[in-house]
Symmetry: C2
């Protein structure tokens, strides 16, 4: 298995956590986002979106989109499960993951922020765009978790929701966002006691700068 | 079951298609996006994100995020399945759905475009932002489907991928995007032969203007 990613890419980070929780190892192929490696022809042949990550299975199938990759891993290596068995709870876990993966990350990723700069916005406006997007999204996540028991996002084991929240909190700090959600900080702390989360942080990756 | 949506919301449209394919009926509760109904306190109590759709099950559970809602419907009403049984193919279907639901729609939805206007961008820049986002995303979808048989996105039955692509094509036209992808136009035509897709189009909804 090969994970095409980048140490700081939060979407790659999610897949690294999932691999760790499953006890799986993938070769890491690094593509430097700021240098534009993800738009090189050989990478576009793998993922026409030019986004990270891409995941190559042992059979050579190429999968894209971090949530789809993680659900694939959950299907081929079912233990420990990354989703609750109950259909309603499963939908709630996926919804929280999608708040991060649909409504936060793609609206403040490198590509979108560069587009804002190209349109002539000042750097402080670009940074405020990112911070506001993150804050509004995490506010919603916090409310969606209000009636769920800890220590993780949904009870006593990490799920797809934690896998998305923890990298997003790391990204939030890079944009100077105050982590004003005690419930999210607490689930992050619970996650970071686990080797799968510890080993997936950007600073632990071979391509970390 | 209650579907809180809006006739033009592509995310609500996706859920309408899924309900139709499953032969399920939900009461439609309309929230006028341009008038800001989705930010009214009673709706925020239902969905703290202030986004459409929200879905209330017969047991009163409130679900958010269209892909999570659709996968819930696929689990509680398994026939006809909206995902292939094969794990790799299932991941590919989900990835195409996520290109639309993560990387196109949230980057050019009403809220983001208004934020661009509030930052002082000219209307033509705002429209170009939307069109470019749609074009880049559908270019990727088209390439991801290149080796998949028709007439639908993934073979001879509609899946979650078609459910996301068809509303996105409708949205593309609203932004004046030329539908330059014959494969996508063909799958849309195949879908629109089915009552579930016919009945879900914005013009057929009770709140259509």
């Amino acid at each position: 298995m090969i994970l095409h990613g980048y140490f700081r890419s939060t979407a790659s980070w999610r897949v690294r956590i999932a691999l760790g929780l499953k006890g799986l190892e993938a070769v890491q192929a690094s593509h430097h986002l700021r240098k534009g490696d993800q738009r090189a022809p050989d990478y576009l042949a793998l993922n026409p979106q030019g986004l990270l990550p891409a995941f190559v299975t042992d059979d050579g199938a190429v999968l894209t989109q971090s949530l789809a990759i993680i659900e694939y891993l959950d299907e081929v290596a079912p233990q420990p499960s990354l989703l609750p068995a109950d259909a309603v709870l499963k939908a709630k876990v996926r919804a929280v993951a999608q708040v991060v993966a649909c409504d936060i990350h793609p609206v403040q990723n490198l590509k979108v922020l560069q587009r804002l700069r190209d349109l002539g916005l000042a750097e402080e406006q670009v940074q405020a765009w990112a911070a506001t997007t993150i804050e509004e999204g995490l506010d919603a996540v916090d409310k969606l978790l209000a009636d769920q028991p800890g220590p993780f996002a949904f009870g006593d084991a990490p799920t797809l929701a934690d896998i998305c929240i923890v990298p997003q909190l790391g990204n939030a700090r890079r944009f100077g966002v105050d982590i004003r959600w005690p419930r999210l900080a607490a689930l992050e702390a619970a996650c970071l006691e686990l080797p799968a989360f510890q080993n997936a942080v950007p600073g632990q990756q071979p391509d970390a700068e």
